[in-house]
């Protein structure tokens, strides 16, 4: 059996029947991950930990347990806490930090039989997806190692794992999935516990799930969704059985009604590659069973602005506790105040320091009402506009990112306000609505994404749409380090 290529749902069925199949996994992964080292996808990878996890799962299977994700391999963004394993957030600041607890979402995946393969590279503290702020160097895109991968989506795209977890504050998980050609789901705010997730913008950040096919995404959501008393923002809403919801018929409801953002192609940063791939898919959507109408959402274009201000102010506050006293890295200074500043100056990347400075600026009395409060009002308006649209339609449709994965050697524009990658994705974070990106290929063969946004709590509609598209667009993936091997394996 070829572990990496086998979808999680098929793997679970086989392993459930023959637990001995798990024996080959630790060895296979040690080889695979060492082969893909040039892509810098993992920050930490511990074969011994994999061996122990596999042994535990095998014992549970032999004891007669039914595990829907038995043997499913997972890459965790390195801002998901794992007790006993270093959790760095791709930052020098936390380069030696071992959390005292494991994130609730990680525990939930393990309970269902998943194996954590490693901690994936990412942007420092999950801020953005350009690939230029990780303390461990940028994760490279398996489709083209000269381009950014964003985060753990690369591990799924390179068929190193079946599933990946990453955070999504202004769309980062969806952007990485769009760059790498996999699916990503940001559920409704509170649907998956945020306990044990190190975040920079608490009102926006959520765990995002990434996978290579819709059925695996459904299984991952079923495993991780649900109320968690340890997370004050966790939803008390009943979690529907996603698998049955996604597969049930529409029963007289007709096709899914989709509102297409009217001026999606008026975005200045929209690349021709994305425009052509998205337009071609639009033409095919009716054949897939989706009914599309263009709808005006005038506030949507303001979402990346509001998200930039709100997330910067939250980052300024939320990252203040990294001061050299309570966590890992510390630089010396002649006084306590100077030690704080020296620690943060050398512990954070240039990009993060600048972002924190902007957050501090907008938090000051002079700018607070004019810009921060204004952004919070814009947030309300954007959420209301989307919710109103979704009273009439099942889904809102946009491209995921206006461009393909940025080149890593691009001139060092470390950051940009607002981040152009957030243009289509930030609205779902501001409103707390669930959103999903589905992978497409551009005319030149680079991945791009198509994004759906759904009503609060209605992740099933997103997954249903993805399943319909998947039937029309069989998904394909590169091999790890394909460029060195003379082709992408498509």
């Amino acid at each position: 059996m070829n572990y990496p290529d086998t979808p999680a749902h098929q793997l679970a069925a086989r392993v459930q029947e023959k637990p001995d199949l798990l024996d080959q996994m630790p060895g296979d992964y040690a080889v695979l991950c060492s082969k893909s080292q040039n892509l810098q996808i993992f920050i930490s990878f511990e074969p011994q930990a994999i061996f122990q996890e596999v042994s535990t799962i095998k014992q549970r299977l032999l004891a007669g347990k039914s595990l829907p994700l038995a043997g499913a391999t997972v890459a965790l963004g390195d801002n998901f806490c794992t007790a006993g394993l270093v959790t760095t957030c791709a930052s020098r600041m936390l380069s030696s930090y071992e959390p005292p607890l494991t994130a609730r979402a990680v525990d939930a995946l393990r309970v269902q039989g998943s194996v954590i393969i490693g901690k994936a590279n990412m942007e420092e503290f999950g801020l953005g997806s350009t690939g230029n702020s990780s303390h461990y160097g940028a994760a490279k895109n398996p489709w083209d190692p000269d381009r950014t991968a964003g985060c753990g989506a690369a591990a799924a795209a390179a068929t190193l794992v079946s599933l990946a977890l990453g955070t999504d504050s202004c769309g980062e998980a969806r952007q990485a999935a769009s760059y790498c050609g996999v699916l990503a789901l940001k559920p409704s705010y509170g649907r998956i516990s945020r306990r044990g997730v190190i975040e920079y913008a608490p009102s926006l950040t959520q765990p995002g799930l990434m996978a290579r096919n819709t059925r695996d995404l459904v299984l991952a959501l079923e495993a991780t969704a649900g109320e968690d008393p340890g997370d004050p923002t966790s939803l008390k809403l009943l979690v529907p059985g996603y698998f049955s919801r996604v597969h049930e018929g529409r029963k007289g409801k007709g096709p899914l009604k989709v509102a297409l953002l009217e001026d999606w192609d008026a975005v200045p940063t929209l690349e021709t590659e994305v425009r052509e791939a998205f337009q071609a898919q639009l033409d095919d959507l009716p054949k897939a069973g989706l009914e599309v109408e263009a709808v005006s959402l005038p506030s949507f274009q303001e979402s990346s602005l509001a998200a930039a201000v709100i997330s910067a102010v939250e980052a300024f506050s939320n990252l203040a506790n990294y001061d050299g006293v309570r966590f890992g890295y510390r630089a010396e200074g002649p006084s306590l105040q100077e030690m704080y500043t020296a620690t943060r100056t050398s512990g954070f990347s240039s990009k993060l320091k600048q972002f924190i400075t902007f957050g501090a600026l907008v938090s000051s009395e002079k700018y607070y009402t004019s810009y921060f409060v204004k952004s919070q009002k814009m947030r309300t308006r954007i959420a209301r506009e989307l919710e109103s649209c979704l009273e009439e339609y099942d889904l809102v449709l946009t491209p995921t990112v206006p461009f393909t994965a940025p080149r890593l050697e691009r001139p060092r524009v470390a950051w940009q306000l607002p981040d152009p990658a957030h243009f289509f994705t930030a609205a779902a974070n501001l409103s707390g609505l669930p959103a999903l990106t589905f992978p497409l290929l551009s005319p030149s063969g680079l991945p791009v994404g198509l994004q759906f946004i759904a009503r609060f709590g209605d992740e099933a509609a997103l997954l249903k749409a993805a399943l319909l598209l998947e039937k029309k667009n069989p998904l394909q993936f590169p091999q790890p380090g394909f460029k060195d091997q003379g082709g992408c394996g498509r």
């Binding site: 071992e98 005292p100 607890l101 705010y189 509170g190 009102s203 926006l204 008393p229 340890g230 004050p232 923002t233 966790s234 939803l235 008390k236 274009q301 303001e302 602005l305 201000v309 300024f316 203040a320 050299g324 006293v325 309570r326 890992g328 010396e332 006084s335 306590l336 704080y340 500043t341 943060r344 100056t345 240039s350 320091k353 600048q354 924190i356 400075t357 902007f358 501090a360 600026l361 000051s364 700018y367 810009y371 204004k374 952004s375 919070q376 009002k377 947030r379 309300t380 308006r381 959420a383 209301r384 950051w415 940009q416 306000l417 607002p418 501001l430 409103s431 707390g432 609505l433 609060f456």
Partner: protein
């Protein structure tokens, strides 16, 4: 969205229907904000923050404020009725686990950097 601003300490831009406005964002304000965030920036980083801040503040100014007068500010995107939990009493994490990353200890003391205030 119109009106991307050129870099500069002082910036002119056109807000929709309101004529020309001058936005001043001084280098001193950037240095002060960096101090609030407890980080030191290089001169190049200060200039970049200034440039980026001017850009985004100008874009925000172009969003008509009057249209937002009746709209409440939101801290969260979606308020789900009854979704906040009651306070609950839970067992604490083991002390050793919580203090694993804390400063070094010596019997009853934590080792923290010497404070020499002038």
């Amino acid at each position: 969205m119109e009106g991307l601003c050129p870099a500069g300490v002082e910036n002119l831009y056109n807000t929709r229907g309101k004529g020309w406005v001058v936005l001043k964002l001084t280098a001193e304000e950037i240095v002060k904000a960096a101090g609030e965030g407890r980080v030191n920036l290089t001169a190049a980083e200060e200039a970049e923050v200034q440039h980026q801040s001017l850009n985004i503040l100008a874009l925000l100014d172009a969003v008509p404020g009057e249209s937002l007068n009746e709209i409440p500010a939101a801290c969260y995107g979606h308020k789900q009725p009854g979704s906040t939990r009651q306070d609950t009493r839970e067992p604490s994490l083991p002390l050793a686990a919580v203090l694993h990353n804390a400063a070094d200890t010596d019997d009853y003391c934590f080792h923290v950097p010497r404070i020499v205030e002038s």
